[in-house]
Symmetry: C2
Subunit: 161 residues, 2 copies
């Protein structure tokens, strides 16, 4: 199969400059603000996005380091297959974060719950829809064994901004 070549369509700005201190998920980054600056050439594609309170942001893990097929997840002590985790060191380093869209100003999106490193290349934005993206009663493997209190305490990784 052929390689797929992607060109970043913008950049994500956040208060996170150190991977080790960046929250591991938007759910653990509640209220942390950032902006997404989309290239002028793509501004037209942002029309109607302001109707959505939440958006999927796809981005490049551009500082993830070497690929690992088994990783020790942040919330667990047992090595897991990388595809059973959200860890960044993936064969194709694409990140997926569900952010709160606070408002749009032209080609700049003001977002919250940001768990993404500053200056990260933006690849795509998709609207979040409960109708499309929610499954009731899903089984979540090893993640189901992580208790909520530990997840909340550890997942934010000390960010106090």
């Amino acid at each position: 199969m052929n390689d797929i070549v992607l060109r970043p369509i913008g950049v994500i700005h956040s208060p996170h400059t150190t991977p080790e201190k960046t929250p591991i998920q938007p759910a653990f980054a509640s209220g942390i603000a950032g902006t997404i600056e989309v290239e002028p050439a793509y501004e037209e594609g942002l029309a109607d996005l302001e109707g959505f309170s939440h958006i999927w942001v796809l981005f490049a893990f551009d500082r993830a380091g070497e690929v690992k097929l088994k990783v020790k997840p942040f919330l667990d002590d047992t090595p897991r297959g990388v595809f059973a985790t959200r860890a960044p060191r993936r064969p194709n380093p694409i990140g997926l974060s569900l952010l709160r869209l606070v408002r749009r100003e032209g080609r700049v999106l003001h977002v919250e719950d940001v768990d993404i490193l500053d200056a990260t290349p933006l690849l795509d934005i998709k609207p979040y829809s409960g109708r499309f993206d929610v499954r009731e009663g899903a089984r979540c493997g090893w993640l189901d064994k992580v208790d909520e209190e530990s997840a909340r305490r550890l997942g934010r990784r000390g960010f106090e901004g």
Copy 2:
């Protein structure tokens, strides 16, 4: 910013061979079965995935045609910004589908709710987690105006497999 080069990690097999007859979302493809065949080099990364009932599948829209920044969504008559839709003709043609994982046999995943064309290049797999991926009370812009009955009737696009 530099281009991002991705190499497919496998291939998705489905009964869908015609874009116009492929359901527009997994939510409208209930029970439609397919398989995901991961390259042998990446099999180790699938460990622990079988604990999850649902997975995010990221793939290349390799037959999407030219990019359009304004698209008429399948469920709507008004042109919308492409980033406010899930349409395939995106600047970076990455698809995102939430599939039901029925079982894993080595490097083959048996999945359901497949809304993806046969022979589509696989880019990444991530576990679905209600804790990470659900937002209560989200506003969903133009999608909120599409009634459930029309969505269900149209969204499957006549697939009867």
